[in-house]
Symmetry: C2
Amino acid sequence: MIPFQVVFQSGAPIHGQVAFAARKAMISGQLRPGDPFPSVRALSKALKIHPNTAHKVIAQLTAEGLLDARPGIGTVVLRPPPSTRSERSRLLGHEVEQLTVEAMRLGLTVDDLHAAVDEHWNLLQAKAKEKP
Amino acid sequence: MIPFQVVFQSGAPIHGQVAFAARKAMISGQLRPGDPFPSVRALSKALKIHPNTAHKVIAQLTAEGLLDARPGIGTVVLRPPPSTRSERSRLLGHEVEQLTVEAMRLGLTVDDLHAAVDEHWNLLQAKAKEKP
DNA sequence: TTGATGTCACATATGTCATAGTACATCTAG
DNA sequence: CTAGATGTACTATGACATATGTGACATCAA
């Protein structure tokens, strides 16, 4: 029906979860530049969420430069824009630190973390190579 | 004054930031098992936050098994309890995936991620070795 | 023109967050 | 025993985010 899957978890905003699933689909190649993105109404119907919530998803992805929304036409997937230095530093500075601290608290080793990262990385890249 | 530092950022809950700073201090050895933890009122005064917010920090860390709070006595740092399998799987399943997806979206390589993890890991472990 | 699209503007309900104030139980120090 | 410090519980308020509900408008293809 829609070109990506979402498994809703309680505790996190719906629009955030849907947007994350869409980003993941773009990275793994399930959604490629030029592909049509589900409309506000189609998305709300398929995921059984409110149209305004679906619109928030599209608005967020559009703001990130991942989608191009045109009234009357629809929304299409764009080629991902080059990342900003501030974006990368935010990721490498804060989020990696939080993950590292929590991993250490749980008694994991560096190798455990590396292995987990590799696992997800290879999983995504394998999907991307499935659909050339 | 208090045995850890916090640099407040807007956009994230205060009690979450303080709790994270406390966990980081415990891991890096600035706070060791048996050490006294600042009281609700001392914490609120030192960080200029409301006592209720400070209490929420202590309540959260107590629920995680990192602190032992006793009325009339004070709060002391506990030896970190062994991690649960569900905790580890949650970390390795969800948070690592989110970090991986975002890193890929920003055009980073696996090596970039590994290097960032190593950097923070070594930084924390170096602090822990400073104070034996 | 018709239909589907994106967009916007209200409103309502719920939940979180931080603050504020008050009160109580417990323990140590004197 | 008393005074003081501590942790804990409760209610309340204002700001903000979230999700839903409803309605309307502009744009474009068929």
